[in-house]
């Protein structure tokens, strides 16, 4: 225990006294700040000037213009200004394309004469890559066409206006502790933030542990150390030391966020979603932390074993990608997990120990998880962590003294079985 503490202390100080730690500590709060404030400060909506060629009845064009130029509801919505263009599409086509290329307009919309019979509206622009623009144009055109159809069916304009009145959804989660506020956006953002944090930390510190073990192997320090301290204890001390640096960094980031939230001038400028995602249950935070910490150490042990087994830096770089894969899988299923937090994908990924450190926090952030599932996943993760750390110690003991060609999986298995 005493030796482990000495190793812990050395590795902690060695990793804290680096430029990478200082840069990471400063840079990530800036990123968090950007994630919290930039959406409200900048928004992602932009302004577009579009020409409109209306071949349909004039009231359709007027209704379209009204619908598309309505004041944006959020910072994410685009703003449009419409320039009416007289004449048919075919006669104006070349001129309008020229105006786009000259930068006079961003694009133009053509409402064909038979739009009421189901024809498509046309949109031409230098870039048509934004799904949001297409969606907004489609909604405005649909509103205009449906208004015209209703009007032609004899429905009064006042009735049509009432018909189009917007209905919003007020979403509230029902938990054992009662009703909890939180929109779909807040759940998504929170799950994404947690997954992102674990991913970033594993990449940063996993690679750091790998480098550190590999340095000890190539510099032959390990042989001296292992003549004093059992390999397993040394490796545990090292992983805990580097892990403590990661936890310290997260604590600093959390403190920065807390300070930012404490400033009324700043918190008042945050979006509703941002504020709601920060009101999390203490129990969930504890479970999140547990999965986060165990997951971090599980990957740290795997990276340490890899560092001891490889024989060159190139080999380490090419193989470490394999260790990132299990973390990436839950990110690939992010949509499925958020859409149905109790679904098969979410359930399986949150039980498998190599994916649960990311998948379970994502589930916890979006909906309550049954206690039995939480316990099973937690125990499976803890047991895997213990087994991997033990195996890593065995691999480390033999790996640090091995040179030449990279060991095969069968050889690694023999190393683990060797006393």
């Amino acid at each position: 225990m005493r030796e482990m503490l000495i190793v812990f202390q050395r590795d902690f100080l060695a990793h804290v006294n680096t430029r990478a730690f200082i840069i990471g500590t400063v840079l990530v709060p800036i990123l968090i700040w950007a994630m919290l404030f930039l959406p409200t400060a900048i928004g992602s909506g932009s302004s577009r000037t579009l020409a409109l060629v209306n071949e349909a009845p004039p009231s359709v064009g007027a209704a379209f213009t009204r619908a598309i130029t309505v004041a944006p509801r959020t910072d994410w919505d685009n703003r449009y200004s419409i320039q009416r263009d007289s004449g048919s599409f075919e006669s104006r086509r070349a001129a309008l394309n020229q105006r786009i290329l000259a930068g006079e307009i961003d694009g133009y919309v053509v409402i064909p004469a038979d739009v009421l019979a189901g024809a498509k509206i046309l949109y031409r622009a230098r870039s048509v890559s934004s799904p949001k623009v297409i969606q907004e144009l489609q909604l405005a055109a649909q509103r205009a066409v449906q208004t015209q159809r209703l009007s032609e069916s004899g429905v009064a304009q006042a009735a049509i206006d009432i018909l189009w009145q917007r209905v919003d959804v007020d979403s509230v989660r029902v938990t054992e502790q009662g009703e909890k506020p939180g929109s779909a956006v807040s759940g998504f953002l929170f799950a994404y933030l947690i997954a992102f944090l674990i991913y970033i930390l594993v990449i940063m510190y996993g690679a750091s542990i790998l480098r550190s073990v590999f340095e000890e192997k190539t510099n032959r320090i390990a042989e001296i150390v292992v003549s004093s301290v059992p390999a397993g204890r040394f490796l545990t001390g090292k992983i805990l030391g580097v892990g403590a640096v990661a936890m310290l960094q997260v604590a600093i980031w959390a403190a920065v966020v807390a300070v930012l939230l404490g400033l009324p001038a700043l918190s008042s400028r945050m979006s509703e979603e941002t504020l709601s995602l920060l009101s999390i249950d203490v129990g969930i935070v504890a479970a999140l932390l547990l999965f986060f910490v165990m997951g971090f150490f599980l990957y740290a042990a795997m990276f340490a074993a890899l560092g001891a087994a490889v024989t060159s830096e190139q080999e380490a770089q090419s193989l470490q990608g394999l260790l990132f894969l299990p973390i990436i899988v839950p990110l690939m299923f992010l949509g499925a997990i958020i859409n149905d937090p109790s679904g098969r994908a979410a359930y399986l990924l949150s039980l498998i120990p190599f994916t649960s450190p990311v998948a379970m926090p994502m589930r916890l952030a979006t909906s309550p998880v049954p206690a039995a599932e939480l316990l099973t996943a937690g125990l499976a993760l803890a047991a895997t962590l213990a087994a991997v750390t033990w195996a890593a110690g065995k691999i480390y003991r033999i790996g640090i003294l091995s040179t030449g060609k990279r060991p095969s999986l069968a050889e690694l298995y023999r190393w683990v079985r060797a006393s």
Partner: protein, 319 residues
């Protein structure tokens, strides 16, 4: 007799290569003991197994009276300098020495005081707070050596300790080993340098092909390998004696002229008495007659073979 290290039938096999095969070794306490052998003989593997850095496939090891696999605390009393050395390059000289001493159970303050004493002794005072990576290779060797000895171990295991050291520091190392022996500590020295082993070691063991060829005190080994070679110095020049030796007549099978007389080898069945009688018959006065003992280098070459391949003839000269 107290032993600092006892190995009994230890064996290590890597795939189909047997690195160490059924090796027995007993290193008495308070001596400088040399482990000699050609490259790839299994010296480093033997030392690693002795210190439980790697596990034996078979056999038992006892370090300072305890099995290091079961009683790891005994390794705190051991200082190990491996052949391939390395230090934490980003750490300062003082910090790296204190770190290794603390891993051996020394309290921080005592570790620091002892480290300072050694830093001064090895002439590294100006580099005390420098990072290891800024030092020359030779200076790094010195730091490594200090890290091995600063916790005052009862057993020092040094694998090729002088490689990379300048003559001045080789002398410091030699003094350190002699000091350790004077204080009743034991030094195990793995080396290729026969001259160094001959000057320093009380006893040696020669290993080749993973097996022990011989071990014992230097005197015992030399006596056992002296064969039938003798040196003779005459009181006055004797034509008759010179002719007899040059023409290899009588019991003499070979003879070489030396500045102070002759060195010759007797036939296997001839006795010393017979040789003396033959020379006396020539009425020549004998000023000196002595058995010639071979150097360690000669014994090594003879037993290991010039190619480095082992000529195995296990012997156990001391228990």
């Amino acid at each position: 007799m107290q032993h600092a290290l006892v190995l009994q039938g230890i064996r290590k096999q890597y795939h189909d290569h047997v690195a160490v095969n059924e090796l027995d070794l007993a290193v008495p306490t308070g001596v400088i003991y040399g482990i000699l052998g050609p490259n790839g003989a299994g010296k480093t593997t033997t030392l690693r197994m002795a210190l439980n850095i790697i596990a034996c496939d078979r056999g038992e090891t006892r370090v300072l009276g305890a099995n290091p696999a079961q009683h790891r605390e005994v390794l705190r009393r051991v200082g190990y300098l491996p052949e391939e050395r390395g230090l934490y390059r980003k750490m300062t000289v003082i910090d790296v020495i204190v770190y290794f001493a603390r891993l051996k159970g020394v309290a921080p303050a005592a570790a620091r005081a002892e480290a300072d004493r050694w830093i001064e002794r090895m002439g590294l005072g100006d580099w005390r707070r420098s990072r290891v990576e800024t030092l020359s290779k030779g200076m790094q060797q010195k730091v490594q050596f200090i890290a091995t000895v600063s916790h005052q171990p009862d057993l020092l295991v040094l694998d090729e300790p002088t490689s990379g050291l300048d003559p001045v520091n080789q002398e410091v190392l030699r003094e350190t080993m002699l000091d350790a022996r004077r204080q009743g500590r034991t030094v195990i020295l793995s080396t290729h340098n026969m001259q160094q082993a001959e000057q320093l070691c009380d006893a040696v063991c020669i290993i080749a092909g993973g097996a022990k060829l011989l071990d014992g005190t230097l005197d015992e080994i030399r006596r056992a390998h002296s064969d039938h070679r003798f040196a003779v110095t005459f009181e006055a020049p004797s034509e008759a004696a010179d002719t007899m030796l040059r023409t290899r007549r009588g019991p003499f099978v070979s003879a070489v002229r030396k500045p102070d007389g002759w060195e010759f080898e007797l036939a296997p069945n001839a006795t010393v008495h017979e040789a003396l009688a033959t020379l006396n018959a020539l009425e020549v006065g004998i000023a000196r007659f002595a058995r010639v003992q071979p150097s360690l280098h000669e014994i090594f070459i003879r037993r290991v073979g010039r190619s480095g391949a082992a000529v195995r003839r296990p012997e156990q000269l001391h228990a």
